[in-house]
């Protein structure tokens, strides 16, 4: 069994082309699942369950795998987390459930992520629907944005019998699960299967409906009893340097690799700007789809980078070069062809507002990194719609109370668009959606 669950395995390393981006971890065999599930101690009030943001009863679903009750296992997962199939693949389990496993200190933590995937694969392969929808409540709820938070909230409300419409601006629902997570971690089919499951719960999905464009908040407020905003984040910000127009957006790079991989042009010599998890995904795509050299540049050091440690370990083994303490100042372009990235060296000074040491340019330190393709993955802009919708914000994010209600009564929000504190992740978004659904349900029909 792979020690680094949730991470791309060594076997897949080195594969190139589209195959190199196929789901990296194989499913557990039945025997592997039985042996691994037998290893679980079945802790009481287990720390893995505490560490999971959605608090899945992990010992419960693992023991059900061991007893051969896979439908029950899947139900135990989905009761806490409707997007269990995505989370089984994309969760940073080292930081969450597996990181808290009592077997971790001296031994090998239980491969919780992969066992969860085993139970989820079983129900999706069987086409078995776990939940029966409740009696119709007569309440109408609009959910705006079909990413993990929106799907979770919509599904939970539909389970309670509410009439839920999910509006999505893109062609496909699923949000970052569909568009933004590299295929070797989560194939697009998994995200779309979850969307279909949410639809079977009774959620109506309307795609190509964007709030602020054809959808007006006031109109929705008039037609629906409650609204949940799961708007995600905005576009990748500008670098603000000459030649920027030749730089590819990292999220688009990932999206192309998932949905249109054969037409994605990969440079021979690729520079990725940024050192978060998205940047690592971009570097992985470039490397696996044929780039001869991939360089990641970051203005701080490995110590400050926002990528998870296991992601950094992975990308180092992919043969990607790093240029730390490096700031791009100009993209060198000749006749609309990228020739390289002009950079300066940085040094770290006092801590800035983010709590990390502020990088400062070193004088006369300009140098060129030759490149024919430049990708930027430097985070996303904060919820751009918050102020246009006249919502109160906190550090640029939508401000919500402890029940996920915004400054507008009856309008709730969750997911990355409210993540003023803590790391944005799929599983946190799922939990927001679930808790907001509870709050909305209680507001509309009371606890029952």
């Amino acid at each position: 069994m792979n020690r680094r669950e949730g991470v791309l395995n060594e076997k897949a390393t080195g594969a190139t082309g589209q195959d190199g981006l196929a789901e990296a971890l194989p499913p557990l065999t039945r025997n592997e699942a039985l042996v691994e599930s037998a290893r679980c101690l079945m802790c009481y009030d287990a720390p893995c369950t505490h560490a999971c943001p959605t608090h899945i009863d992990i010992p419960k679903f693992i023991k059900k795998i061991n007893t051969g009750n896979l439908k029950g296992s899947a139900r135990a997962i989905l009761e806490s987390n409707l997007l269990g199939a995505t989370c089984a693949r994309v969760c940073p389990v080292q930081e969450l459930c597996e990181g808290a496993c009592v077997l971790g200190a001296e031994h090998k933590p239980i491969a919780i992520g992969r066992l969860q995937r085993y139970a989820m694969d079983y129900v999706y392969a069987k086409g078995a629907d776990i939940f029966l929808t409740a009696k119709t409540s007569g309440k109408k709820i609009a959910v705006i944005g079909a990413g993990p938070a929106g799907l979770s909230c919509a599904g939970e409300l539909a389970k309670k019998g509410h009439d839920v419409t999910l509006f999505e601006k893109r062609d496909l629902a699923g949000g970052l699960s569909t568009f933004g997570i590299i295929g070797l971690r989560e194939p697009v089919e998994i995200a779309l299967a979850e969307v279909a499951m949410i639809q079977r719960l009774g959620v109506r999905i309307e795609t190509r409906r964007e709030i602020g464009e054809d959808l007006v908040l006031a109109d929705i407020q008039a037609k629906f009893d409650a609204i949940f905003l799961s708007l995600g984040l905005g576009a990748t910000p500008n670098l603000g340097i000459p030649g920027e127009e030749q730089v590819i957006d990292g999220l688009e790079y990932i999206e192309q690799s998932k949905l249109n991989g054969h037409n994605l042009k990969i440079g021979r010599n690729v520079v990725v700007i940024g050192a978060g998890n998205t940047a690592i995904d971009c570097a992985t795509i470039a490397k696996r789809m044929g780039a001869e050299r991939v360089t990641m540049i970051y203005r701080r050091t490995a110590h400050e980078m926002t990528a998870y440690p296991h992601e950094y370990d992975f990308i180092k083994r992919e043969g990607v070069r790093f240029e730390f303490l490096t700031q791009p100042v100009r993209i060198r372009v000749e006749k609309e062809i990228v020739e390289g990235v002009e950079c300066v060296r940085m040094s770290l000074g006092q801590k800035d507002a983010s709590g990390r040491p502020a990088p400062r340019p070193v004088e006369d330190s300009q140098f060129l990194i030759p490149a024919d393709q430049v990708v930027k993955a430097i985070g996303q802009q904060k919820a751009p719609l918050a102020s246009r919708l006249n919502l109160k914000t906190l550090k640029g994010y939508i401000d919500v109370d402890e029940y996920f209600q915004t400054s507008l009564p009856g309008v709730y929000a969750g997911g990355d668009c409210i993540r003023a504190r803590g790391a944005a992740s799929t599983v946190m978004a799922v939990q927001d959606g679930k808790l907001a659904a509870r709050a909305i349900h209680e507001r509309l029909v009371g606890n029952g």
Binding site: V35, P47, C48, A51, P53, G99, M428
Partner: protein, 461 residues
């Protein structure tokens, strides 16, 4: 290095480990290979009456990812021609003069038939004979095997017939499918047997197929009880072995006992020796892993004996028999309490839930600030490994409430994390037997019991 040689009722072997009478000792070629691997002896698969076997003859019980904690079988005695078996027994014995070759036999319950088979076995040059009074399936339907072992009178009668002609040591193998193992053992002693062996397999049904509702294993749509053996039966075997060792009649006969029933490792073997077995038979572990396991059986046993200062097997045999007793003789004032080593504890809380749900509710979850907290006392928004690990309460025993039941000790997955610590109870030693003799009213009347407890300072939680 310890001397592993044994002399069991006159049967010598270089180590105490014999293949039990079973599929591993079915043929000359197999026994040759076993001896090459180092086995001290082999009890040939039972020969005797003509039989036919069926397919799907072995079932197995698997648990927690571990294969074959027990096996069950409906295989009968040897289905190979008698003459072929006898010829191969003679060949093996000639080739391996230093090993113990014992032949298990089972025939119709007629004196002349038993006389005939015993003589034939003796003609092979074999070192001993084991009388199979244990086979619980098939043969018993024909009045043989456990049909004999379950009736002490039959056991004594047939052993008597055998002893009339036997010139080599005769071992009587007992069936565990009986309420008191001592009775057939006494019968064998009375008939003049040279040694005893136990246990044969236990009646069992392994399971039911949840798709077809057929029994496991399925024999053409039918199934039935088969003989149960392997690691899971060891405690049953140890109990029956100790029952013989503590029975005055059997123990005074000084008949050696060949122990078997779930021996898989050298440490299992050492336990059988300590409880009075002086030769050891192995089957299921060999059927799982092959003849090669003999190497660690001998090596491990020898190393353990060296460590404990035992020079030869006979020094070990029966060392624990005097510890075997009955509840009425236990010291009611003996006190032990559970203590958890907080450095070793991994906070799985299995001791907590076991104690709280099923024992005596004397383990608490204690938060960092020293307060006792209920399980799951974290906010729904709390998550991540740092929070989960750093805020996890510790498990602590309220020793004044602990009855020393030892359940937590048994469920704890960490070696030496929970220990049962002996504590002075402050009460003089007393047994139930002594109370019954001196104060019988305490054992018969709850009010008197209450008064006794108050006087002695015994608090029930």
């Amino acid at each position: 290095m310890a001397d592993l040689r044994i002399n069991f009722a006159g049967i010598r072997s270089p180590n105490p480990f014999w293949l039990a009478s079973a599929p591993p000792s079915n043929s000359g070629a197999q026994v040759h290979r076993a001896f090459e691997a180092g086995w001290g002896g082999a009890v040939w698969k039972t020969i005797g009456a003509p039989v036919l076997n069926v397919s799907n003859r072995y079932g197995a019980w698997h648990f927690g990812g571990q294969k074959m904690l027990a096996i069950n079988n409906v295989e009968l005695i040897s289905d190979r021609p008698l003459e072929l078996n006898l010829r191969e027994i003679a060949e093996v014995k000639r080739a391996w003069p230093d090993r113990a070759v014992i032949v298990s036999a089972m025939v119709e319950s007629k004196p002349e038939v038993w006389h005939d088979i015993i003589k034939k076995i003796q003609d092979t040059g074999a070192d001993g004979i084991e009388l199979n009074y244990g086979c619980p399936h098939g043969m018993s339907e024909r009045g043989m095997g456990s049909a004999v072992g379950q009736v002490p009178e039959y056991c004594e009668q047939i052993t008597g017939w055998v002893m009339q002609v036997a010139k080599i040591p005769v071992i009587v193998k007992l069936t565990p499918n009986i309420s008191n193992i001592v009775m057939p053992a006494r019968a064998a002693v009375a008939a003049g047997a040279d040694a005893l062996s136990l246990i044969n397999t236990i009646n069992s049904i392994i399971g039911v197929d949840l798709d077809t509702f057929e029994l496991v294993p399925n024999i053409g749509g039918k199934g039935g009880h088969g003989g149960y053996a392997g690691p899971a039966v060891k405690p049953v075997a140890l109990n029956m072995l100790s029952a013989l060792g503590t029975d005055p009649e059997v123990s005074q006969s000084n008949l050696p006992i060949s122990g078997m029933g779930g021996i898989s490792t050298w440490s299992d073997a050492a336990e059988f020796l300590l409880l009075g077995a002086s030769s050891l038979q192995v089957c299921t572990a060999v059927m799982h892993y092959g003849f090669r396991i003999i190497e660690d059986l001998c090596d491990g046993l020898s190393n353990w004996m060296d460590e404990k200062g035992f020079k030869r097997i006979s020094d070990v045999v029966g060392q624990s028999v005097h510890r075997v007793s009955d509840f009425k003789n236990f010291d009611l004032s003996f006190k032990a309490v559970a203590r958890i080593d907080q450095q070793k504890c991994i906070r799985c809380n299995l001791c907590y839930v076991a104690c709280n749900d099923t024992a005596h509710q004397c383990i608490d979850l204690v938060a960092k600030d020293g307060s006792i907290v209920p399980p799951g006392s974290y906010d729904v928004r709390s998550n991540g490994k740092e929070e989960a690990v750093s805020t996890r309460p510790s498990v602590q025993v309220r020793e004044e409430d602990c009855v020393g039941c030892r359940l937590c000790f048994n469920v704890c997955p960490v070696d030496s994390c929970i220990s049962m610590v002996e504590e002075p109870s402050g009460r003089p030693s007393v047994t139930w037997d002594e109370i019954t003799q001196k104060q019988p009213e305490v054992t018969e009347d709850w009010e008197k019991m209450k008064a006794y407890r108050e006087k002695m300072g015994i608090h029930i939680h």
